[in-house]
Amino acid sequence: MLKFDAVGHVFGMSRVLDRVSLTLAPGESVCLVGPSGCGKTTLLRIAAGLVTPTEGGVKDSFHRSAVVFQEGRLLPWRRLLDNIALGLKAAGVPRRERRARARTLAAELGLADRHDHFPHELSGGMQQRVALARALAVEADCLLLDEPFSALDVGLRSEAQMLLLDLLARRGIASLMVTHDLTEALRLGHRVVVLSPAPGRIVHETRVERPFAERDTAFLYEAAGALLRHPAVAESFLFRPDEVSA
């Protein structure tokens, strides 16, 4: 369980978060949406322990959480398997075992024939899959994802989303995902939480009841349209209407 309790944060003179309270249950997938600069990434960084909030508190009772960053952040000088096994190496897992576990994960994520490639030899989609594998390798029960697919083109993105859904469901991992794409949030979340422009507050929250497998494109656009009819949501996206489109 990850619990934000009236979290507020101030960077220098400007307030980025304003009394955000949010709970992430085990196995649950929550998507945070909001316009650029609304503090959603800051919220994620607070959850990851990279930032200490100036107000309120965070209670994290998950066994282990891992972060997938927007731009992969792989080590350019390490080969694919070693990049996946990075967290295991940090935990002191012996080389042979961590490489075996990395190999299994690589196979599961469709990277089996590229064990010895350096990150720059991989496409953007593959790099993101390596980053995902690296997060899964430490046996996290909570994934924190910061717009992990925003750099991918439409086809790759949808493929990566399906892969993520599958991995999360099979392992029962909870996830808190930040995105500025409403349809992505509606496709991947049990719950969608909308933040206002800075300072970020929760202005709307909706539970998506339909099972993941039945969320087709038609449903996504319809649900996004319905969501945008809420005045608070519309206002959040008013300044950047282009970001609503998938």
Partner: protein
């Protein structure tokens, strides 16, 4: 040459893949900046055949440059007389004579020993201090002026001091080499440590990397890419300074040979010694440092698959 090769191997943080094609080719073309520019302009996606032809052209270009230089040298020697400017053949003859007499080999050994000893000490100490100075802001501030002062002291002044402190001999030369090359290694390492990627550091935080692993897996590989070009520069400096120090401080070595040539007004021998130094420098850079860099940074080389 050093300046061109520096341009090639200077680290490129955002996208190593953009330069890797050149990197592989750089081994062949770095003596020739014009061809390098051609490579840059044409981009990297060449077929193997085109690349082969360009490599050949690269070699041909370099050879043309060398031959042109030799021709100019010969012409100068004809115009000004072989006393002022002995031709390439005179210089080679002198080199052969020095080699036969065994003087060249022992001089090369002595100079190499001193230059490499001073260079190794400077590389170790300078890199270690530079990394510390880059990682710790306070230490960086404290060491920065010191490094600037050291860089500002002319090598000739170090030679005078070294002779006063250590007397004439190898020690004075080694010390002078160390004192002049240390700031170069320091600056490279410090720059590398200062420019480390904050985003990777954050990633290291979230995966709870212990300090030693952070140093070896995250910081050092990045720093190395800054240290190597600095070391190549330092190596060139080391050789030149070693020869200069020997001129004043020792009885043997290439510098001492040059001193003897001066006393005897033997310009051809002086030229021969110069040829030797240049040859040594090229061997050290391309026989030692470059292969070492390729070994240590395999991730910079052209890769397979999609980039």
């Amino acid at each position: 040459m050093t300046c061109v090769s520096e341009g090639v191997s200077r680290p490129f943080r955002r996208g190593p893949f953009r330069l890797t094609g050149i990197n592989a080719a750089a081994g062949q073309v770095e003596q020739n900046p014009i061809i390098l520019v051609c490579f840059l302009e044409k981009g990297m996606r060449h077929s193997l055949a085109t690349r082969g032809i360009e490599t050949l052209l690269g070699w041909g270009g370099s050879l043309t440059g060398v031959l042109l230089f030799v021709a100019l040298w010969e012409w100068g020697s004809q115009a000004y007389g072989s006393f002022l400017l002995p031709g390439p053949r005179d210089a080679l003859a002198a080199l052969v004579r020095l080699t036969r007499e065994g003087e060249a080999a022992s001089a090369v050994l002595a100079t190499t020993g001193r230059a490499m000893a001073g260079f190794a000490l400077a590389a170790l100490a300078g890199t270690a201090l530079g990394i510390l100075a880059g990682l710790s802001r306070t230490l960086g501030r404290a060491l920065q002026p010191l490094s600037t002062v050291l860089l500002g002291i002319p090598p000739i002044a170090w030679i005078v001091l070294a002779i006063l402190w250590f007397g004439s001999g190898s020690m004075a030369t080694v010390y002078t080499v160390m004192a002049t090359t240390l700031p170069v290694a320091f600056a490279g390492a410090q720059m590398g440590a200062l420019t480390r990627d904050r985003r990777l550091q954050e990633m290291a935080d979230t995966f709870r990397l212990p300090p030693l692993m952070r140093l070896f897996d995250v910081y050092l590989p990045h720093i190395v890419s800054y240290v190597f070009p600095a070391l190549v520069t330092a190596l060139g400096v080391a050789w030149k300074v070693a020869v200069m120090a020997e001129l004043f401080a020792t009885e043997n070595g290439i510098g001492a040979g040059l001193a003897v040539a001066r006393v005897n007004l033997d310009t051809a021998a002086a030229m021969a010694w110069i040829l030797l130094v240049v040859a040594l420098l090229i061997v050290a850079e391309h026989g030692l440092l470059r292969p070492l860099q390729r070994r240590m940074e395999p991730w910079r080389q052209t890769g397979r698959g999609v980039a």
